[in-house]
C-alpha cells in the first residue's frame, strides 16, 4: 500500500484551513443549530488552546498568584518578573544561540543535500531509481533506537560528542522524509521543460540549479520549515550528545528551573513562552506551507 502511493504523485491537496468557499451552501435559518455548531467548534478549539493560555498566564503571574488554589486564568497583578528571572537565572542567550546555530546548520545541510537526491529520484531516468526510493522509504520506518547506540559509539570514537557535529551532520546527507516529500513534488514538474533545456545543451547541474530549484520553491519552503522545527524542538539528540552546560540547547536548558524539591514555575513558563515564539511565528507566517508537509505525511 505504501509503495502504491509512490507510483502516483499526489495531486496537491487543497489547504484545509485556507478555503471556506463551500461553507455557506448548507446554511439555513435555524438559530439553535447554528449555535450548536459554534458550541462544538469552540469547545474543540478551546481544549487545544487552553494549555497555551495557562502557560501565558502563569508566565505573567507573581509567585503568590501562581500558587493559589483555585487557579485563575487572569493574573491578579501582571508582572514581568518571571521574564527578568529567565535572563538572570539561566544563560538564556547562550542556549538560544546554541539552538539557533544547530537549527540553521541543519536547514543549510538539508537544503544542500535533500533536493539533489530528490532530483535524482524523480527527474533523472536511471536504473537504480526505484530500488533507491524503496531504501529511502525503508529508512523512514527503521526505529531510531536501532541506530542510536552505534551512532553514539561512532561519534564518541571520533571524539565528536559534546559538540554540535552529531546533531547537524546527518542533515548534510539528506533527510529521508523530506527527500520523499520533495521527490513527490518534483514528479509534478513537467519533463518538457527539462528536455528543452537538455536539447539546448544545458548540463544537468545547470538544469537543476536554474530550472528545478526555482520551480520547487514552495516545496523547499515546506522542507525548510519542517527541518527547522525538528531541529528547534529536538530533545533526545541534545540530551544524548551535549554534556557541557555551555553547549546546551533550549530544549535541555529548560530543566534548569527544576530544583531538588521545587520547580520555579513562573520563570519556567516565561522561558517556555520565549522558546515557543519562533516556531509559532514561523507557523503564522508560513501556514499554508505546513499543509503541503502534513499531506505528504498522509500518503493515502
Amino acid at each position: 500500500m505504501v509503495l502504491n502511493a509512490v507510483e502516483k504523485p499526489q495531486a496537491p491537496t487543497r489547504a484545509p484551513w485556507t478555503d471556506n468557499e463551500d461553507e455557506p451552501r448548507r446554511r439555513r435559518r435555524r438559530p439553535a443549530r447554528t449555535a450548536g455548531r459554534y458550541a462544538l467548534v469552540w469547545g474543540l478549539t478551546l481544549l487545544f488552546v487552553f494549555p497555551f493560555l495557562a502557560m501565558l498566564s502563569t508566565a505573567f503571574k507573581l509567585p503568590a498568584d501562581i500558587f493559589s488554589s483555585p487557579p485563575a486564568l487572569w493574573p491578579k497583578e501582571w508582572t514581568l518578573d518571571n521574564f527578568v528571572a529567565v535572563f538572570e537565572e539561566i544563560p538564556f542567550w547562550q542556549y538560544l544561540w546554541n539552538t539557533v546555530v544547530i537549527a540553521a546548520l541543519s536547514v543549510l545541510g538539508m537544503l544542500i543535500a535533500s533536493p539533489l537526491v530528490a532530483y535524482s529520484l524523480s527527474k533523472i531516468g536511471w536504473r537504480g531509481q526505484r530500488p533507491l526510493l524503496v531504501i529511502v522509504m525503508a529508512t523512514m520506518m527503521l526505529p531510531p533506537q536501532v541506530t542510536m547506540i552505534p551512532l553514539f559509539l561512532m561519534w564518541n570514537g571520533l571524539q565528536a560528542t559534546n559538540t554540535i557535529i552529531p546533531l547537524v551532520a546527518p542533515a548534510f546527507f539528506g533527510t529521508p522524509f523530506l527527500i520523499f516529500m520533495l521527490r513527490q513534488f518534483l514528479m509534478s514538474v513537467p519533463d518538457e521543460l527539462l528536455q528543452a533545456a537538455r536539447i539546448d545543451g544545458a548540463s544537468e547541474l545547470r538544469i537543476y540549479w536554474s530550472i528545478v530549484l526555482p520551480q520547487a520553491r514552495p516545496a523547499l519552503i515546506t522542507a525548510v520549515i519542517f527541518q527547522f522545527v525538528w531541529a528547534w524542538t529536538d530533545f533526545l539528540n541534545p540530551l544524548i550528545y551535549l554534556n557541557d552546560a555551555s553547549k546546551y540547547t533550549l530544549s535541555i536548558g529548560l530543566y534548569s528551573f527544576f530544583g531538588e524539591h521545587n520547580v520555579e514555575w513562573g520563570p519556567l513558563m516565561a522561558a517556555s513562552v520565549l522558546f515557543t515564539i519562533p516556531a509559532l511565528a514561523l507557523f503564522v507566517v508560513f501556514q499554508r506551507y505546513f499543509v503541503g508537509g502534513i499531506s505528504a505525511g498522509a500518503l493515502k
Binding site: M1, T13, R14, E23, R25, R26, R37, Y38, V41, L44, T45, V49, F50, P51, A54, M55, S69, P71, L116, V117, Y119, S120, L121, I124, W126, G128, T139, M141, L142, P143, Q145, V146, T147, M148, I149, P150, L153, M154, G174, P176, I179, E204, Y208, T233, F235, L236, L239, L254, Y255, V263, W265, L268, T276, L280, Q287, F290, I294, S295, G297, A298
Partner: protein
C-alpha cells in the same frame, strides 16, 4: 541511435543519477546501514563503553526474559499503544467533522487545533506537569467544577498512563487535519444517494465516510502504532527527576520501552543489552505493522481501483 550510443547514454544516466543521489547513498551507509549491522553485533556482546565488547551469545536476549523491568516497560508501552491508537483515530475523525462544520472563521479554528504540534515537546511536557499539578493545576480544577474525582496524576500508579495519553492526545492536530482533507474528498453524490435511502447520520458515517476514508485510516493507524511503540519523550519529561534521569513514575507505572532502553544504554552503560532491546523493539514493530497490513484486506476499501 545505435546500440552503442544507447548503452553509453544509459550509463551516463546511471552515473548522473548516482552522482545526484550520492549524499544520501553515503549518508545511508554511514548513518543507517553500518549502525544497523553494528547494533546487531553489539546485541550479542557485553559492552560498557570502557572495555572492548566481549561476546556473550544470546545472553542479552535470555536476560530479557527474567528482567522484570523489561516486562513492566513492555506492558506499559503496549497498554499505551492499545489505548492511545484507537483514541487518536476516534478523536481525530470526530474533531475533523467538527472542523468541517459550516461556521465563520473555519481557517482560524483549524490552525489553532494544529498549533500544539509545533510547540517544542519539552515545553509541552513541563506545561502538562504544571496543568496536572494536584493542588494548583487547571485539570483538577475543572474536574472539581464537574464534581469528578481529582486524582494525584503523576503520583498514583493508576493515573500516570492517562496523564501520558492526555499529553499525547493534545498533539493530534496533524492527524485531524489529514482526516479533514479526507472527509472533504468524499464525493457528495454518495451522501445524497444514502439520504434518499433514508440513512441517518450514523448510517452515512458507517457505510460511506468510514469505508471511503479507510485507506487514510490504515496509514494513520500504522504511523500512530509505530509512534506509540517508540514513545520516549512524553513519559520521560513527565517523570524527569534530573536532566539525564527519569524515574518512570510511581512504581514504574510510566516507564516506556524506549525509556528503559535509553536508561540501559546511557545511564547503566549496558550497550549490548540496550542493542538487543532495540532489535526486539524493531521485530515487534515489524510484526505488528505486517499484521495491520494483512488485516487491511478485510476493512480497507480502495474505491473504484479494486471493487
Amino acid at each position: 541511435m545505435s546500440l552503442m550510443t544507447a548503452k553509453r547514454g544509459a550509463r551516463r544516466q546511471t552515473l548522473l543519477g548516482l552522482a545526484f543521489a550520492s549524499p544520501f547513498i553515503i549518508g545511508a551507509a554511514v548513518f543507517i546501514v553500518w549502525p544497523v549491522i553494528a547494533s546487531a553485533g553489539y546485541s550479542f556482546t557485553d559492552f560498557n563503553l570502557f572495555q572492548a565488547p566481549s561476546w556473550v551469545g544470546l545472553d542479552n536476549y535470555a536476560h530479557m526474559l527474567q528482567d522484570s523491568t523489561f516486562w513492566k516497560a513492555l506492558a506499559n508501552t503496549l497498554f499505551l499503544t492499545v489505548t492511545g491508537v484507537p483514541l487518536t483515530i476516534a478523536i481525530s475523525i470526530l474533531g475533523a467533522h467538527f472542523l468541517n462544520l459550516p461556521v465563520r472563521g473555519q481557517p482560524l479554528y483549524r490552525a489553532l487545533v494544529y498549533l500544539p504540534t509545533i510547540v517544542p515537546i519539552v515545553v509541552g511536557g513541563y506545561l502538562w506537569r504544571w496543568l496536572l499539578n494536584t493542588q494548583y493545576g487547571f485539570v483538577n480544577y475543572f474536574l472539581g467544577l464537574l464534581h469528578l474525582p481529582q486524582p494525584e496524576w503523576l503520583e498514583q500508579p493508576a493515573w500516570g498512563k492517562p496523564a501520558i495519553l492526555l499529553m499525547c492526545l493534545w498533539t493530534i492536530g496533524g492527524t485531524m487535519i489529514i482526516y479533514l482533507a479526507a472527509i472533504k474528498d468524499v464525493p457528495s453524490e454518495l451522501y445524497e444517494a444514502a439520504e434518499l435511502d433514508g440513512a441517518g447520520w450514523w448510517g452515512r458515517f458507517r457505510f460511506i465516510t468510514w469505508p471511503t476514508i479507510s485507506p487514510v485510516t490504515l496509514f494513520q493507524v500504522i504511523v500512530t502504532v509505530i509512534a506509540y511503540l517508540q514513545i520516549f519523550t512524553q513519559p520521560y519529561l513527565l517523570t524527569q527527576t534530573r536532566l539525564n534521569e527519569a524515574s518512570g513514575g510511581p512504581g514504574q507505572s510510566m516507564i516506556s520501552y524506549a525509556m528503559y532502553l535509553y536508561q540501559n544504554a546511557f545511564v547503566f552503560l549496558k550497550m549490548g543489552y540496550a542493542s538487543a532491546m532495540a532489535w526486539v523493539l524493531f521485530l515487534i514493530t515489524l510484526v505488528i505493522t505486517l499484521l495491520l497490513l494483512w488485516s487491511s484486506k478485510k476493512w480497507v476499501h480502495y474505491g473504484s481501483e479494486r471493487s
